[in-house]
Assembly symmetry: C2
Homo-oligomer: 228 residues x 2
């Protein structure tokens, strides 16, 4: 159990705009990271910025990322390149009376730092499990375990959550006073919900096989619901 | 009307892994970009990679991004810094019989290049409209127009879709032949659906005001449904 520490912004993790949307509470950082499914990992590769979606999971103040040893961006990150990991949850479209005050409701966590390639066997197993439990809780116990060859083909990275920022826009539309007073256009929020649908068994799964609870229980639930 | 050209991959837009997931059809690039709502814009800012969610819209082979003139990342992009713009749509969690073959269904478009600050008044208006029509179709006609002060406070960037890649994973789980033959674990896809919810009027909108069709018609529909 990690004791939560407040966010300690450095210049690059200090918001320069819409500071009212900055959140300085580490618990909110955890909530956003735990509610997302994929992050966007950005780094410089051969001199160009590259941003790719990546699976991740959090354990305390460590974010684990994983992927194939063949992935160029993970290889570069494993060498200690500076990275930015961003998790964005879109919660709604904000319609204001003025076009200029149209906006989006969202929760966004941004983590800066240098990742560490996890090479110790125990921590690598742990990191894999953290990512697996994040994306598909229950699979670690249910599915066929990772074998040594598969284990060797996976890269696990660890990124400390020391330097992070969280930005949240929630609530309804905001308009200029004159638009509130005299405007006639509709204003409001059109929520965006991301939910799990109905499980679709693979063709090689016998028809009488029940969908296991760790999958079936997610059906119809919001993706950002707390994991079991 | 722009005539579609096939994707012309350069080294940085050529997939090095899972090449079977690469899509070389420009129409698919358009579909993914048109289906998303926010992109992730990555660039180097003060020596560090920064990845932030950003609104965008597409017109032919031009991607328009917009934001406040105060946003540091847009200012940097406007100077001609190399950027990577990524749009990811998550379509499902793939449960395989083996942990190692767990995956995600997704559609992901990645655009590399250097953005151009749109300074000409006509094109800037056009870019704003393209972004507005992408995020909230109908608002351009319905809401109070952008005034000169607001117009001046917005940065519009244009990014050519010359160098892009698209990666798609769809369909059901795949497993090793021995797991297909002898495994007992459940395998399948748990779809992820992103849908618009019920419009929530702002408190300053009179109760009897009907929700206009351009908002009401989106309620309950998938976010990635084709725009009207």
């Amino acid at each position: 159990m990690t004791i939560a520490r407040p966010l300690s912004p450095t210049p690059r993790s200090t918001l320069t705009r819409k500071k009212n949307r900055a959140v300085l509470d580490r618990e909110v950082l955890y909530e956003v990271l735990d509610a997302g499914l994929v992050c966007h990992l950005g780094l410089l590769l051969d001199g160009s910025p590259v941003v790719l979606p990546t699976g991740y999971g959090r354990d305390g103040d460590t974010l684990y990322l994983h992927g194939s040893t063949g992935a160029g961006n993970l290889r570069e990150a494993a060498k200690g390149a500076g990275v930015c990991v961003t998790v964005t949850l879109l919660d709604g479209i904000v319609y204001a009376r003025s076009l200029n005050n149209h906006s989006m409701n969202y929760r966004c966590a941004v983590v800066h730092g240098r990742a560490r390639a996890v090479t110790g066997e125990d921590e690598k197993w742990h990191g894999l499990r953290v990512v697996s439990d994040h994306l598909s809780p229950g699979s670690w116990e249910h599915a066929r375990a990772v074998n040594p060859k598969e284990f060797a083909s996976v890269t696990v990275l660890a990124l400390d959550l020391a330097e992070a920022s969280v930005k949240v826009r929630a609530g309804n539309a905001g308009d200029e006073p004159e638009d509130v007073a005299h405007g006639t256009a509709w204003a409001g929020v059109l929520p965006v919900h991301t939910v799990f649908g109905t499980p679709e068994p693979a063709p090689y799964v016998p028809g009488e096989t029940p969908v296991p609870a760790h999958v079936a229980d997610r059906a119809g639930k919001p993706v950002d619901a707390p994991r079991e």
